[in-house]
């Protein structure tokens, strides 16, 4: 009896601990994210507690009734804030960018909490900061939905497969694990094959390499409308990051019927137009011109559209990008996919503003980080790779199938494959190795399942969990968030700033004076980007002298000057005027993106 009790107690305890561990392992790697309600509550309470610097309003209401929040941060009156150089931070243009939303919210919170400290204090009096923490809250909320799924587009109904029925076939949680993962089905029509070195990864089969695809590979779901296609018309919608007019993907699958078709994108555009002093935009999204110097080119000829960043502007992208990678601890440049019709591109190519962007997290970032959680060795450096890979291919050689001339499948000797590295799926495979070390529950092991469209066929559910490629695992989240906040703070200090360095007065006798005014840009960025000048969407810098036109013998009462480079770039204006000794003359400079300045001087001096 005693023994029985001991054993059952042990078993019971062990079972409880095991269950606890299993449950914990389920959620151990995922960061803590806030729901829409929690975000709204936080923003509302900050806007009350810090009403001296933070104003909260809504750009638009989404289909599901959520507000698209925008915050304006800065001290002083509305008029004062409108005249200062301004920066805009946007996240959540694509639904799954929740990490970026949290970084942006963290930035707002940080400014509120440190508003009394020297650096932030000065910033709040000299620049205005706008933050749109989430442009697509309906999609972002799908992280908390049951089942959890990655949702890029908004939730306006859209007939994606053009069959006259709307939103009739979306993903389904077949294995009941509470999330939409992936399915693979062995089928003669399959075009995917297992990665030779890691059978968990699927790559496109290449018949030129004598590979036969054996797997169908698609998101977890059923053929709800019995048209032999699966998940071809899910709920929603338009991908807001494909809904902007620059290189708009006409007829793109999720681009909407025309540019700016959605209330979210249209209201953001109207906001930007109504706040023309925004000179710098920072976007968390899938494209990263901060992670790698973007392609650039010359000014396009004639009236042809500019399709590459101007060389003159690219120099600034390069510097700001290098700084970003250094401060974030990203060891090397990271490739990201281009996107047509994106918000970030629209801001540069059509609105003429400097437009920086980065994913808040990606497999490329993970692999380029200078350290990861389990080893302090530079996981991102190439030299260590070949050794590791060789070890792993010996450990987990999953037999890739190759069809020989006689038609039999043959097992491939992994040692022979060492010399030629498989380039397909390389980043995915390396990321999976990284996840094995740092966040194992980001990948759901493939498990057998029955699929009604493929009765009797081998089918498995599993693969990368939703959000596995876009959310930093918990051990990394807090640090990355803090580093991004610090970068944004640093960036806010890089805006252009116009000033009047000096006004010299020389008397030419007989009441005639020569005035020379030197305008200076003490900020880092130029008063407008090279392409910004060309778009005409930024008002030229105006310099006005207070004297009436009759008193001005040479020079313009209302002059315009071209762009002024940062870091002490100057422009001089010359006037010859008539006035009285002791008369005060004021010169005012009004810059669209670099603020205003004015200085007064007295007409004085002896004649020749």
């Amino acid at each position: 009896m005693k023994r029985f009790c001991q054993v059952s107690l042990a078993l019971g305890l062990g079972g409880w601990v095991w269950a606890g561990m299993a449950a914990g392992a389920e959620t151990a790697s995922w960061p803590d994210l806030r729901t829409y309600h929690e975000v709204s509550q936080a923003l509302r309470s900050w806007s009350v507690e810090h009403a001296d610097i933070l104003r909260l309003s809504s750009l638009a209401r989404t289909r599901e009734g959520r507000e698209v929040w925008v915050c304006e941060i800065g001290r002083g009156t509305g008029e004062e804030r409108r005249q200062r150089p301004a920066m805009l931070i946007v996240s959540g243009v694509e639904g799954p960018t929740l990490a970026g939303n949290e970084y942006a919210l963290g930035f707002i919170e940080s400014l509120c909490q440190t508003k009394g400290e020297a650096e932030v204090n000065a910033l709040l009096d000299s620049v205005t900061i706008y933050v749109v923490p989430c442009l697509n809250p309906d999609a972002a909320e799908r992280f908390f939905a049951s089942p959890r799924m990655e949702q890029t587009a908004n939730l306006n109904p859209f007939d994606q497969d053009h069959d006259g029925l709307v939103d009739e076939d979306g993903p389904d949680d077949l294995d009941g694990d509470g999330r939409i993962t992936w399915l693979r089905v062995r089928d003669p029509k399959g075009t995917f094959t297992a990665h030779p070195e890691d059978g968990r990864i699927l790559i496109e089969a290449d018949s030129a390499k004598a590979e036969a695809g054996r797997w169908l590979y698609f998101r977890e779901g059923l053929d709800n409308d019995e048209d032999e296609k699966i998940n071809e018309d899910p709920a929603g919608g338009v991908n807001l990051n494909a809904n902007f007019p620059f290189e708009y993907p006409q007829f793109g699958a999720d681009a909407g019927l025309h540019p700016m078709s959605e209330p979210e994108t249209r209201s953001l555009a109207e906001f930007i137009i109504a706040h023309p002093h925004i000179g710098l935009v920072f976007t968390f999204c899938g494209q990263g011109n901060l992670l790698k110097k973007p392609e650039s080119g010359e000014r396009s000829s004639g009236r042809n559209p500019q399709t590459k960043i101007r060389n003159e502007d690219a120099a600034y992208y390069e510097f700001l990008g290098e700084q970003y990678r250094e401060r974030l601890g990203i060891a090397k440049a990271v490739e990201t996919e281009a996107a047509k019709g994106s918000f970030a591109d629209w801001m540069y190519f059509h609105r003429g503003r400097l437009s920086l962007s980065t994913p808040p997290w990606s497999p490329g970032i993970a692999l380029a980080l200078k350290k990861d959680a389990t080893n302090d060795v530079d996981a991102g450096k190439d030299e260590t790779q070949p050794a590791k890979r060789e070890k792993e291919t010996q450990e987990k050689a999953v037999e890739p199938e190759k069809v020989s001339e006689s038609g039999d499948s043959k097992k491939v000797d992994p040692k022979k494959e060492d010399t030629k590295e498989e380039k397909r799926g390389k980043e995915e495979k390396e990321y999976l190795e990284w996840l094995d070390r740092n966040a194992p529950d980001y990948f759901v092991p493939w498990k057998s399942i029955e699929h009604p469209s493929y009765p009797g066929q081998e089918a498995e559910a599993g693969g990368f969990a939703p959000y596995a490629k876009v959310l930093p695992p918990k051990p990394f989240f807090a640090e990355l968030k803090e580093k991004n906040i610090q970068y944004l703070l640093w960036l806010a200090g890089k805006l252009p700033r116009i000033g009047i360095d000096e006004i010299q007065v020389k008397s030419l006798g007989m009441g005639v004076y020569e005035i020379t005014a030197r305008i200076i840009n003490t900020g880092y960025l130029p008063t407008m980007p090279a392409h910004g000048e060309r778009t005409g969407e930024i008002l030229p810098t105006r310099v006005e002298i207070s004297l009436p036109p009759e008193a001005i013998l040479a020079g313009e009462k209302k002059a315009r000057i071209g762009p002024v480079a940062g870091s002490g770039g100057v422009e001089e204006l010359h006037y010859v005027v008539q006035g009285k000794e002791g008369q005060e003359v004021t010169i005012e400079v009004i810059s669209a993106l670099a603020g205003n300045a004015r200085k007064s001087v007295t007409l004085t001096g002896k004649g020749e």
Partner: protein
């Protein structure tokens, strides 16, 4: 009762009795006289329920009034509604013309006609209003019109820029000024908005030209018409005048005259297909459909996918324009073939009008209306540039002298201001004169109705070739006990396919669907060759067969394998070709 009171009552009675007599006898007689004395000239009804003078222009309220009167007079043929509001809050009126009793308007092939997107191109409004008037008044009197109004639905929007129209008509302008709408724009980018417009300094109702005597000038008076015209001086000769520009002042003291008037953009560059920003395409504004007027039209068209033909009206030049608007823009070969054929017909109806491709024969533009209708919505679309001065003498002669002669002899000097002195605050002694705004781009009064009728006829021709789905031959063969092989022919009686190539290629609208009740259909297929009986099976949902399109003046055959002896209903839903049904009797064969 006192004397004064008696007088008052007496006067009132006399008045009442006179009125009564008039009503009973005189006015009736006048009406009777009208009916007796009115006879038809070909092309318009003798008796009209709505009388409209087509030899003058109407502002947006005037056009709206015409539409309202038509709607009140023809309630079973028309619906009147606003599709949205302009920037200044004017409704954009649409008169929907179709017979209410011959089917659901939303399911009839639709002909969309609008005009006057450019504020100064006003005669477009009259052309569209005339179209509405003609269709209503001739219904029941003319077989062709009756058929068109029964089978199709017409969406007639005389002006999609009422702000610009009223600004041009009511204020002093040139023939070209204010093609824009009235949304403010800082054209000279000086931080002030719309601060320096033209001024009608000499008060003649038009903005004409300013010239100044200048020994270094390159212009000299025309030898025959010195009070009106100038010609360039010879290369080796001193001229006498310099043209300063259009009438105006430097309102904002920036050294420039008339550089920032109201608006100052081009609403026909604000459409969401192949759109480019202002530094590439002048006037395009901030993003596609950022203007309330273009947005209202776009939403209307998206909400009415049955629209199968489109016409917009501009001025001037005498052109029948089709896309693409830029080299390399979307234009599928088969669609171009149909557009060309329709335009060729138009050249026969409209003297001196030429069928042209926008980028190739006119100029390149981005974000235009016609390309959006065609490219993004899959609708065959035209723009007509109304009026060419070749019509003045029907001889093709278009020089300045000919125009002055016309004004002097046929318009009794209306339309020109002779050069007259004026004291300008900046320039000093100058002269002001020139052609009025009503000259050059809009027709004179007596040629306006002609313009209206001819262009209307072109659009009625376009409408008449719109797709029309119809069931043709039905073949039934028994295939076993309670089983039948049914072949259904679906015809398109119009020249335009039910879905044009641009539509099919880009999946703009859903395919045509031919269907039977689900429980009756065992299998179905498309008959690829009905002589050799080659049938392509439909694999999924056999009860609804999807057809990419039914080509113009052609048919598709569908095979259904049907169970059960009872009659079966076959339906064809074509977004632009119409929705039709037919009951097939199986056992009687």
């Amino acid at each position: 009762m006192n004397r004064k009171m008696k007088c008052v009552i007496w006067v009132i009675c006399v008045g009442l009795v006179s009125g009564l007599i008039y009503e009973l006898f005189v006015s009736q007689e006048a009406v009777a006289q009208e009916r007796q004395n009115l006879f038809k000239a070909l092309g318009a009804p003798a008796e009209r329920r709505v009388e409209v003078a087509w030899n003058r222009f109407y502002d947006s309220e005037g056009l709206a009034e015409i539409l309202k009167r038509l709607h009140n007079a023809f309630p079973s043929l028309t619906r009147l509604y606003s599709i949205g509001e302009s920037y200044q809050g004017r409704p954009i009126w649409c008169l929907e013309v179709t017979h209410i009793k011959t089917g659901d308007p939303a399911r009839k092939p639709g002909m969309y006609i609008d005009g006057n997107i450019h504020g100064n191109e006003v005669q477009a409004g009259e052309v569209v209003a005339y179209t509405a008037w003609y269709l209503c008044e001739m219904y029941g009197k003319n077989e062709t019109v009756t058929r068109l109004v029964d089978q199709f639905v017409f969406y007639l929007i005389p002006t999609i820029n009422p702000d610009g129209r009223d600004f041009w008509l009511r204020k002093a302008n040139t023939a070209h000024s204010s093609r824009s709408g009235q949304v403010p724009l800082d054209n000279d980018r000086d931080g002030l908005v719309d601060e320096d417009d033209y001024e009608d300094l000499d008060g003649d109702g038009s903005i004409t030209q300013m010239r100044i005597r200048d020994p270094n000038g390159r212009m000299k008076p025309h030898p025959k018409y010195p009070e009106y015209l100038m010609i360039p001086a010879e290369e080796d000769e001193r001229g006498e005048y310099t043209i300063l520009g259009w009438e105006g002042l430097d309102n904002d003291g920036d050294g420039r005259v008339n550089e920032d008037g109201p608006g100052g953009y081009d609403p026909n560059r604000n459409w969401g297909f192949d759109w480019q920003p202002p530094y590439v395409q002048w006037g395009a504004r901030d993003y596609p459909f950022s203007l309330p007027e273009t947005r209202a039209v776009a939403q209307f068209v998206i909400d009415h996918p049955n629209i199968a033909g489109m016409q917009s009206y501009h001025n001037n030049g005498g052109m029948i324009l089709r896309g693409p608007q830029r080299e390399g823009g979307d234009m599928q070969p088969r669609d171009d073939h149909v557009l060309s054929a329709i335009a060729a017909k138009g050249e026969l109806m409209l003297p001196f009008y030429r069928s042209m491709v926008i980028w190739r024969d006119l100029y390149t533009l981005w974000g235009g209306e016609v390309d959006w209708f065609y490219g993004a919505r899959g609708i065959l679309a035209f723009t007509n540039e109304l009026w060419t001065s070749q019509n003045l003498y029907r001889s093709g002669r278009t020089d300045d002298e000919a125009e002055v002669e016309f004004i002097k002899t046929l318009l009794m000097n209306e339309g020109l201001t002779a050069w007259k002195e004026y004291d300008h605050p900046t320039y000093g002694k100058i002269e002001i004169g020139g052609f009025h705004k009503e000259w050059g781009r809009v027709p004179p009064s007596f040629l306006l109705e002609e313009e209206c009728h001819r262009n209307m006829a072109f659009t009625l021709y376009h409408a008449s070739v719109m797709p029309q789905a119809a069931f043709g031959e039905i073949r039934v063969e028994p295939a076993g006990e309670d089983l039948f092989k049914v072949w259904v022919e679906v015809r398109n009686d119009g020249m335009i396919p039910t879905r044009i190539e641009q539509d099919v290629k880009n999946h703009i609208n859903p395919p045509d669907v031919v269907s039977m009740p689900e429980e009756r259909v065992i299998s179905s297929g498309r008959v690829a060759d009905r002589y050799f009986k080659r049938v392509e099976p439909v694999r999924v949902r056999p009860y609804r067969v999807e057809l990419p399109s039914i080509p113009g003046l052609s048919s598709e055959w569908i095979q259904f394998i049907v169970r059960g002896k009872e009659p079966v209903v076959v339906t064809c839903h074509s977004t632009k070709g119409g929705h039709i049904q037919h009951e097939i009797n199986l056992s009687a064969r």
